[in-house]
Symmetry: C2
Subunit: 507 residues, 2 copies
Amino acid sequence: LPNQTHKRLLIRPVDEICSISDILPQTDNWKGTEKFLRSVILLKYIREENVRTNKILEFHHPAEMLQLIDLEIPEKPQNLEHLVKCCEEVLRLGVRTGHPRFFNQISCGLDLVSMAGEWLTATANTNMFTYEIAPVFILMEKAVMKRMWEAIGWDVETADGIFAPGGAIANLYALSTARHALYPHSKYVGLKDVPTLCVFTSEDSHYSIKSAAAVCGIGSDFCFNIPTDNAGKMIPEALEVKIIESKKDGLVPLFVCCTAGTTVYGACDPIEKVADICKRHKIWLHVDAAWGGGLLLSPEYRYKLAGIERANSVTWNPHKLMGALLQCSACLFRQDGLLFQCNQMSADYLFMQDKPYDVSYDTGDKAIQCGRHNDVFKLWLMWKSKGMEGYRQQVNRLMDLAGYFTQRIRETEGYELVIDPPEFLNICFWYVPNNLRELDPVERKARLEKIAPKIKARMMERGTTMVGYQPDKQRPNFFRMIISNQAITKDDLDFLIEEIIDIGETL
Amino acid sequence: LPNQTHKRLLIRPVDEICSISDILPQTDNWKGTEKFLRSVILLKYIREENVRTNKILEFHHPAEMLQLIDLEIPEKPQNLEHLVKCCEEVLRLGVRTGHPRFFNQISCGLDLVSMAGEWLTATANTNMFTYEIAPVFILMEKAVMKRMWEAIGWDVETADGIFAPGGAIANLYALSTARHALYPHSKYVGLKDVPTLCVFTSEDSHYSIKSAAAVCGIGSDFCFNIPTDNAGKMIPEALEVKIIESKKDGLVPLFVCCTAGTTVYGACDPIEKVADICKRHKIWLHVDAAWGGGLLLSPEYRYKLAGIERANSVTWNPHKLMGALLQCSACLFRQDGLLFQCNQMSADYLFMQDKPYDVSYDTGDKAIQCGRHNDVFKLWLMWKSKGMEGYRQQVNRLMDLAGYFTQRIRETEGYELVIDPPEFLNICFWYVPNNLRELDPVERKARLEKIAPKIKARMMERGTTMVGYQPDKQRPNFFRMIISNQAITKDDLDFLIEEIIDIGETL
C-alpha cells in the first residue's frame, strides 16, 4: 500500500518549471493557470481556418503521420509548454472542417457562437441525467425541443424526445420505442415469443436503420430496402407491395422509415403517401430527417417534408443543416410517455423519488444512456443568436447557393449532373475529362469510375478543397457536393468547379 | 421560392450594433470576432469555482428557475452582448461540478488540461468515422487504447476497442458483440430462431446491463441478478448455481458481467473466480470497470481487478476515476475483429474502399454510431500531462484520502459506516442525529430513512457542499461519499463531516 509520502504537490518533474502542479486545482496559482488557458485559446487557428487561401489539410498517410507526431502516452508528466506545442501540432496536422471550401461532409463549417457554447459546456462539465446537477440545461432541452416539435407540427403539450449521441443512436431509440409500443412485454422477455418483426426503409436510406434492426435483435435481413425512383425517393407503391408480401409471409410489419434528405442524393421520401400506407396497415412511421430536418425552419421549403407531423418519431440532427457543433442530434416522439416506459429500469439508487424537487424533470429514466453529454447548450446559444428568422434566411440562402451551383454544373463543359434537378443541398455530378468524352459508353464508364478517386486524391495533396465521392447502384464514382457551411459564397463554388477541371485535365 | 434579395450580411437587426453578422464567417471582421470569443472565455468562472467558500449552487425549483432565465428561442436574432449575458446567467444558475466540495457524482472535478483539450476538440469540430477527416485523432485513439489494453494485461497486437458515448452504450457494445460471437447469424436474422439467451450480473451492478438486454431483444427478465455478499461483491457460487439452473431451463447463458467498482458501494466482484466459472461454462466474460478501471493505473491497487485480463470485453470510463471531462468512455475487446464483424453494414457510400490511404484505419464500420464525437483528445492531452507516473500518484492519493475519510467517519460520534471497510472511493454512511440515537431499532430505522433526504435538501439550499444518498435493499437512506475529484483535500473531507452534523442537529 502507498505510504504517506504522497503530498499535494506531487507531480513536479525536477527539470521542468511549469507543470500541471503549477495550475489549479493542484495549487491555487491563478497566474500560471490563466497563462496556460490563455495559451490554448484557439483564436489563431480559427482566424487561419477562415482564410480561403490557406490549406484545408496537409495530407499524410497513416505511417508518415505517426512519424510526424508523438502520440505515445509517456511515463513521466509533460510540462505545459510541451502540451501547448502538442495542441499546435494536432491542429496543424488535422483537417480544417470549418474552412469555407471544405465540402466533404454533411456536417461542415464552424459556427463560432455554437463553438463558444461548446467551450462553456466543457467548462460547466455536467451530466444531463438529473435536474439536481443540470437544472438549467434540463429545462433548456425542453425549451429547444418545443421549437422542434412546433416545427414538425406536433402538439407541444404531448410530445416528447431526447438528445442522443448522433443520428444512428437516435434511429435506434426510435426503433426500440416502436417495438415497445407494439409489444411492451418484449422489454422484459425479449423477442423469442414475439412474431418475426420487420422494418422498411428506402434503399437510399442511411445504414443505421439496418444497424438498429441488427442491434435490436430483429436482424438486418428483416430490414427491407424499398426501391427508389430516379430522384432517389422511396416508391410508395413498392412499399405497400412489400408490406403486403411480408404479412403473407407471416411477418409483422413494425416500422417504416421515411428519409428526409438521403445521405447521397439529399432526396426526401414522399411522407404523406407513406403516412397513408402506415395508417392503412397500422405501422409506426419514423422520419429520419437527420439531414433534412433543418428545412422545417424555412416556410419556403418545409413543403418538402409535408406530412412529417403524421410521424410517430423523427430524427433531426442540428449538427447538420443547422450547423451546430458535433454532436447534436435529437430523437423526437409525437406521443409522450413511450420513451420513459421503454427505457425506464427503476434504478432508484440513481433516480431517487424522494428528492426535494419535482423529479419528473429528471431524464435519466428516458435514456438508453445513463450519463449523457450536454448537447443542447451549443444549439440553444446558436439558435438564440439567429432566432427563427435567422435560420429561415440561412436555409433559404443555402438553397439559393445550391441552385447557383447546379446551374453552373449544367452549363460547364465536362460536367454532368447525376440527378437533375437535385432537390436539396446535395449536388451529385461527374467530371468527365476531355480525353474520355468521345469514348464508347462501356469504356467511358469503366474509366470514369476511377476519375473521382484520382481527382480526390490529388485534391487532398493540394489541400485546396475537399469534396466526397462514391459509386451508387450502376453509376460509376461521382462527386457529392454538400452546401451546408454557412461560410460558403458563390466564389467558393466557382473555385471548386475550376479546381476539379484543373486537376481532371492533368491526370 | 426565396428571391435574390438574400445577401451575405443578412442577419443585421436594425437597432443592434454587434450581432452575429459582425463576426466570422458572416464577415471577415476579425476584431469583432476576437472580442466576442474573448468575452466568453471562462476564466472567471473557473477561478471562482475553485474558491471553497463560494457556493456550489443556488438552488431553485424548476418553476422558479423558469422565471429566472429566459430559455425561449426568440423570433429575432439576439445581439452578442445579450448572448454573453445568457452565458453568465446559465453559469450562475448551474451547479459547479468542479467545486472541490462537490462530492455528488462519480464523475467530479474539472481537470483544466482535459478542459483545454475539449475546447480544442470543439474548435477542430470533426467526426471520428474516417482517417480522411480525423487523421490525427483516429491514430490517437489507438495510441490511448494501447495504454488501456496494456493496463488490462492484453496483447496489444490483437486487442480492439472503441470510444463510446458513456458506459451504458459501452456495455451495449459488449453485449451485442458477445451475441454476435456466439450467434453470428443473429445479426442478419434476429433472435427469433436462436435459443433463449440469458445474461448474469450482480444485483449491485449498473442498470445498464439490464437495459442493454432489453435493447438487444434478450429481455430484462433474462438478465439475472446474482446476489452479493456483505461487501457488495457478487457471490461466485450463486452465479454458478444460477448458470446451471438456467441451462436446465433450456436457456443459453451468453454473458456474465463482473462489476469493478459498483455504483453505490464501489465493490469489485471477484473476477478470477468468475472467470473460472465462465471458462467452465464457455460464457463471454465482460468486466464493467466504468468506475474502477482507473485502479489499473496503480500498481498498488490493481490487485483489486486481478483476473481482468481474462475478460472478453471491458468497459472503462476515463471520465470517472481518471477525471477526463464528460464524456469519455471506452469499450475494449480482447479479440480483434469481432467489433467490426458485428457492426459492419457495408455502407460503401460512406466508407469507400478505393481511397488513396489504408482504409483499415477508418473506424466507421466498427461503430453502432455513424457520426462519433471525438472523446479521445481531452483524455490524451490530460494523460500526457500526468504520464503513467502522475496517474499512479493520483489514484494512490485518492485512495489515501478515502482511508482518511473512512477513519474520520468511524471516529466521529453519530456517524455509522454502511460497509466497513469500504473497498474503493465510495464511502457509504449514515448520520444519526442525537435525538434518534436512543430509539428502538424499528423506529430509528423508519426515522433514519428521512434524515439523508432532509439533510441533502438543506445542503442544497445552503449550497456549501453536495453529496448523494440512496436507500439499498433493507437499508434506510444513506449518504454515498465519492472521492474522485483531484482537488479534494483533507480539509474538504473534515468540512463535509462538520457540515452534516451542523445540518443534522438543527433539523
